[in-house]
């Protein structure tokens, strides 16, 4: 890493932390600490909501996803705008009217204390573990790329967010997120412009899109319904809708951000802004990866993007096979690039026969390149059976380090760290809010004064921060980290969403019915996971449908387990 990049990165990060500390000054009471005094204007809340969802993995993995799989991942977000509208019509006005601090408080008003405690506990377990993984995943990539010690990188990333989150709480988190997210998006735009600049002379955006399109990378919408395919229009609209509804409506990381708004109208404006911009934003980040792919059709790409695995192979028992695979890959890539240039020239000249001939040569070279890559991956496995042979997360940073000018590289790295700070700080604040509001305050003899609870909140934030850092150090044993986060979420989200939807839609179901239903549903989800018969995305649906169905059934069988909602929740 060049000195200028290191200076730019550290200066930018220090500025973020100082800004967070400066914004911590006004936090003197519990409401200020947990929900920013409910005084945030909607543009700040909107940026905070978007920043919370977009973790460092988003900015590392999404361009890589675009490079490898094209634009298809954008469909995953198609259900989000619909979920935003539904939340604006239902839960958000309700939450604001009840003036709750955590989403789980609503459940006590609607059902009873034990349902609230159960849901809060499910959230604390899921989010507490996820906080560790979300810290570890980008630390792993950054430590490999920068050559830093993994443990120190985890601690460094944790410390960046801990300082102002512990002191300033929700207000500091919200303001810092808004600033950081604006700078992150500006930096990504800069990287986008730079990719276009690095394309060979005479190759414009239209040509780059044509190159990517002819390789099947502009597959943004797939109209075919296939339950096995993760990314198609219908899975995005239906599955994405339920996932986003659960995340934004019941996960305190997001509900906590939404409740910082000055009013119900401002909360709704923030969510609708998110609904308008989220799909274009994800498209833009994926397109960045697609353009990096187009760039590498002209300029040689490494046979494998993870430098640690490459170094192991070069120094391992199969070094000769590795060198052969690497050389074959480089030669095939050069042939493919020549054929592509000839194909483009023929296309510009309108010579269809020459274009077909060049396309055939390019296809043959690309096949050789793919074979060489497979051989390289086989060497990685032969060198180390536990080698990580998925290099998607390393694609974007490899491009950044190889092509961007000094200074801008430092800014991109700072943006990745800042994205980690964004999501981690919101998670810590949500964990502290839930711990204090839904656990500590309900213990008989717990402190009741505002000053004491503020101290407890700071302590809870510090506790969860240390928990996240410590758990991050052991997260490496969990295999694929991005998948681990999603599986972990899916194990709990369905049941939690089911409890909330029961509260909102099944007005005659009481606390005992939903409590028992939720426990059975959660056990069933865990059993499904252990049996390994379903893909993890289905856990969301299974947990939700089981909770609602069983709760309705129990309320029907046991008349005492019905309730009159209007009296308890004020849902007039």
């Amino acid at each position: 890493m060049r000195s200028l990049d290191l200076v730019v990165m550290l200066t930018t990060l220090a500025a973020f932390v100082l800004y967070g500390l400066w914004r911590s000054r006004g936090t003197r009471d519990l409401a200020g600490y947990l929900v920013a005094g409910r005084q945030m204007p909607w543009p700040m809340v909107a940026l905070s909501v978007m920043a919370t969802q977009a973790s460092a993995v988003t900015f590392l993995a999404t361009p890589g996803q675009g490079y490898v799989g094209g634009l298809s991942f954008v469909q995953f977000y198609f259900g989000l705008p619909i979920a935003m509208v539904v939340l604006c019509m239902t839960l958000v006005p309700l939450y604001q009217r009840l003036r709750i601090t955590t989403a789980y408080e609503f459940l006590e008003r609607r059902f009873d204390g034990k349902t609230r405690s159960l849901t809060a506990a499910l959230f604390l377990v899921q989010r507490g573990l996820a906080a560790g993984i979300t810290l570890y995943a980008p630390a792993l990539v950054l430590s490999v790329i920068l050559g830093w010690d993994l443990r120190l990188t985890c601690v460094f990333m944790g410390l960046l967010s801990i300082v102002y989150t512990v002191l300033g709480g929700s207000r500091a988190v919200g303001h810092t997120q808004a600033l950081q997210f604006s700078i992150i998006m500006g930096t990504m735009f800069l990287a986008f412009v730079w990719v276009l600049r690095t394309l060979p002379a005479g190759v414009g955006l239209g040509d780059a899109l044509w190159v990517a399109g002819s390789a099947g990378k502009l597959n943004a919408v797939d109209l075919h319904f296939d339950p096995k395919s993760r990314f198609n229009l219908w899975a995005g609209l239906l599955g994405g809708f339920f996932l986003q509804l659960s995340y934004f409506g019941t996960d305190q990381s997001q509900v906590g951000r939404i409740l910082t708004a000055r009013s119900s109208s401002e909360s709704r404006m923030a969510l609708l802004f998110n609904g308008l911009l989220k799909v274009p934003m994800q498209f833009f980040i994926l397109l960045l990866g697609v353009l990096v792919f187009a760039y590498h059709q002209f300029a040689p790409a490494p046979v494998f993007f993870n430098p640690i695995e490459v170094a192991r192979a070069r120094g391992g028992a199969h070094a000769l096979e590795w060198s052969a695979a690497e050389a074959a890959h480089t030669a095939a890539a050069a042939r493919a690039a020549d054929a592509l240039r000839a194909r483009l020239a023929a296309r510009h000249a309108g010579d269809a026969a020459a274009e077909r001939a060049a396309a055939a040569a390019q296809s043959a070279a690309n096949t050789s390149r793919a074979v060489a890559r497979e051989q390289a991956v086989a060497v990685l496995r032969a060198t180390d059976a536990s080698a990580n042979t998925n290099d998607t997360n390393y694609v974007f940073l490899s491009f950044v380090l190889a092509t961007l000018p000094a200074g801008i590289v430092g800014l991109v790295l700072a943006a990745i760290f800042a994205a980690s700070m964004n999501s981690t700080s919101a998670e810590l604040n949500a964990l502290a809010s839930t711990t204090i509001n839904d656990v500590v305050r309900r213990i008989p003899g717990a402190p009741t004064s505002d000053a004491a609870l503020l101290r407890w909140s700071r302590g809870a934030t510090l506790f969860w921060a240390l928990f996240a850092v410590l758990f991050a150090e052991t997260a490496g044993a969990m295999g694929s980290l991005v998948e681990a986060v999603n599986i972990l979420g899916s194990l709990f989200y369905g049941t939690i969403l089911g409890i909330f939807l029961t509260g909102f839609m099944l007005v005659r179901v009481g606390g005992n019915a939903v409590f028992l239903a939720a426990i059975i549903a959660e056990v069933a989800v865990v059993v499904c996971w252990k049996l390994d018969r379903f893909g993890w995305l289905w856990f969301n649906l299974i947990g939700c449908v089981l909770t609602m169905g069983l709760a309705a059934l129990f309320a029907m069988i046991v008349p005492r387990w019905r309730t009159r909602v209007a009296e308890r929740a004020g849902r007039e």
Binding site: G37, R38, Q39, L71, V74, F78, P81, I82, M84, V85, C88, M89, P93, Q96, R97, R99, L209, W210, A212, G213, S214, G216, L218, N219, A220, V221, D222, L223, L233, R262, S263, S264, S265, R268, M269, L272, G275, L276, V279, P280, F283
Partner: protein
């Protein structure tokens, strides 16, 4: 109701005059975005 106890009725109307219009804008923008992405998928196949 906001932090000061005022209900939604005391707040200024949202942009476009009503929430229904804003919701329609968000859903309409999604439909237009999907249509554009579908065009992109087919135009550069």
């Amino acid at each position: 109701m906001n932090a000061l106890g005022a209900g939604d009725g005391d707040e200024p109307p949202p942009p476009l005059g009503s929430w229904t219009a804003l919701y329609a804008l968000v859903i309409g923008a999604l439909i237009v975005t999907i249509a554009l992405l579908l065009w992109l998928t087919r135009a550069f196949r």
